[in-house]
Amino acid sequence: MLSDRRPILLANARIIDPSRDLDFPGDLLIADGVIRDTKRGIGAAGVPEGTEVIDCKGRIVAPGLVDMRAFVGEPGAEYRDTLASASQAAAAGGVTTIICQPDTSPAIDDPAIVDFIMRRARDTAIVHVQPMAALTKGLEGKEMTEIGLLKAAGAVAFTDGTRSVTNAQVMRRTMTYGRDFDALIVHHTEDPDLIGEGVMNEGELATRLGLHGIPTAAEAVMLERDMRLVALTGCRYHAASLTCRESLEILRRAKDAGLPVSAAASINHLTLNEIDIGPYRTFFKLTPPLRGEDDRKALVEAVASGLIDIVMSDHNPQDVETKRLPFAEAAPGAIGLETMLVAGLRLVHGGHLSLIQLIAAMSTKPAELLGLPGGNLRNGAPGDVIVIDPDTSWILDPAELKSKCKNTPFDEARLEGRVIRTIVAGRTAYEYASA
């Protein structure tokens, strides 16, 4: 930890709290690990003795991000990322809570493993870590996990990671059972049979590159089925990563019908498109795949309108052994914990989203959906707060990234804005060196 638990006053800040729709110049006081006060002119005089006073010089103070989907390699694939290395990356990116995914080895499908993750995170991670548990045993899509016991152990939601449950009967029963525990089911909506040999978005570009395509229907078919099962069962449901216009229409109909559904989009699908693949660049091979520009635009509009509730990093570390391969053979995934906010700022600078919308989608809404106490700056909320300089311009050097893997699609990209300070439970977990 960089600093002890002295109270912290963030003075002269632009305070953004989407939970109350607030965006105003003021000060924020954190003491005993929680937010004590946010208002205009608390000033150095109005704080407890020993308070660390930080002049924010008009920069943004916002609730720390809650990243709804991050793949961490611990246990079983520590070369990808450990809870410790992922948490370092998270802190540098303004993420104060990581929601880690259960496709570890062994999978998080047993309460003892939930317990392991939480203890391990407590001892080694510098941000909060909350695990999702597997929806089916061994992520095999056949038998439901111990939803009740897993939830009691601390699992915040249930998912099979990047796998879809293809058996509709298994999905229906799991939803029906899960509803009794008020479980949130998070589902990757891609029909594996329709994916087939596909490795990128189906269309002209795939045809030119001689790569097999994945149609948007692979996603829409699975989402449509799920919406009908939600209507049948009443289970709380969250679509893990939507990518196309067709899916948005399905989601809109479900929401209009009052179904308990929500959805996320990854920062990659909001800021990149299939053309970025260019000459077979495997860092842009993702699951689900990057789509065309029309779909990307539709997705951004859906975040602005609130149809898409959440924006997540989809952090998925892969090393050179799994990426430096022919495109079809390379593993999908991109790291994102460290860049999700700055990549999101591109949408703000471009006038497509307001800052408050972006912070809501990356912090307030995921915290609310998962029932976590963060994601807001109310008095008594956890002292998970970030300071952002929205305008500083820099070029991303992958060597400086804290994740163990460097598979970033923003390799040497010019970025505008950066996280200056990340405070977790009232302690500074990250501070940008030359701030």
Binding site: G203, T207, R208, L209, G210, P326, F327, A328
Partner: protein, 317 residues
């Protein structure tokens, strides 16, 4: 008779990874150079010395008989030391990656690597890691540039031109690198290209590559000057992409009856190896309008031209 080289064409690039990106002048330059080698290859004395001292490695991650032997002969006739490596049977089975294999071979200082791989883009990836010239001998469903060049040479020698010809490419376009390279090349030289096949074997948005698309052989072959057949892989015949070989032959197999839709002097091509009775009837494959054996001959000449034109651009050339 001794044939002296007259063309001084140099391919001003290090690698030949695809037809995409080649200019019209580069394509024509290669074809003109290849013409000279056609004549040379018909002499008793077929040897040249322009690649003497050069090492050419044929690195085939996917088995091939005709392309590999064609490149081997081409290299030898130009005086290069040629080594064949069938990687599918050796290193890759021991877990060595594509990049490792490339680096290992690179340490032996080959001047030219001829590479075939089952994955689209793999040859380009390999080219980034080696010092010599890389020639794409087929990567996945992406490109097979020397096949398109030899097809163009064959057409040009028989029709006197390519511009304005109607070329129908028939069959499994989806999985075909030959089709992609040919579409790009024929368009660059001003031909009118049609593709035809069952919709399951036509890639989405193929029309954006500048071709007319149809599912009807009669329509595709109407007034065609060239009918180019594609091979249908065995594993795609029975139910996965088409229901059966019988049905495929009935609708898309080239027999005398369908060939009659084309111009009377239309010529038939096939990159080989053929499935007789699946995509092409024997009577057509062996008939008077068939150029299939000539394509093989042109293959050696075109590959000599590519090797020669690239080597003229190598350091110390």
């Amino acid at each position: 008779m001794n044939i002296a080289a007259t063309s001084s064409f140099v391919l001003n690039r290090r690698h030949l990874l695809g037809i995409e990106g080649l200019s019209r002048d580069e394509i024509v330059g290669l074809l003109d150079l290849a013409e000279e080698f056609v004549e040379l290859n018909r002499q008793i004395e077929k040897k040249r010395t322009s690649l003497r001292g050069r090492t050419q490695i044929n690195l085939f991650f996917e088995s091939s008989t005709r392309t590999q032997s064609s490149f081997e002969l081409a290299g030898k006739r130009l005086g290069a030391d040629v080594m064949n490596m069938a990687v599918s049977s050796s290193a890759m089975k021991k877990g060595e990656t594509l990049i490792d294999t490339a680096m290992t071979l690179n340490a032996m200082h080959p001047d030219i690597l001829v590479v075939r791989h089952h994955a689209s883009g793999a040859v380009e990836l390999l080219a980034q890691k080696v010092d010599g010239s890389v020639i794409n001998a087929g990567d996945g469903a992406h490109e097979h540039p020397t096949q398109a060049l030899l097809d163009a040479l064959t057409i040009r020698r028989n029709k006197g031109r390519i511009e304005g010809l109607i070329v129908a490419i028939c069959g499994d376009v989806l999985h075909s690198r030959v089709a992609r390279s040919n579409i790009i090349l024929l368009n660059a030289l001003g031909a009118r290209v049609r593709v035809v096949g069952p919709s399951t074997l036509l890639p989405p948005h193929i029309e954006r590559l500048g071709v007319e698309v149809t599912r009807d052989m009669r329509e595709a072959l109407h007034d065609a000057d060239i009918v180019m057949m594609l091979r249908l892989q065995r594993e795609r015949m029975n139910g996965s992409f088409v229901p059966s070989t019988q049905e495929y032959f009935a609708y898309f197999g080239l027999d005398q009856k369908k060939l009659a839709y084309a111009k009377p002097d239309a010529l038939v091509m096939h990159p080989g190896p053929m499935n007789r009775g699946v995509e092409i009837a024997s009577s057509v494959a062996d008939g008077a309008q068939s150029l299939i054996r000539e394509q093989v001959e042109m293959g050696v000449a075109v590959r000599m031209a590519v090797l020669e034109a690239l080597s003229r651009n190598l350091p110390n050339a």
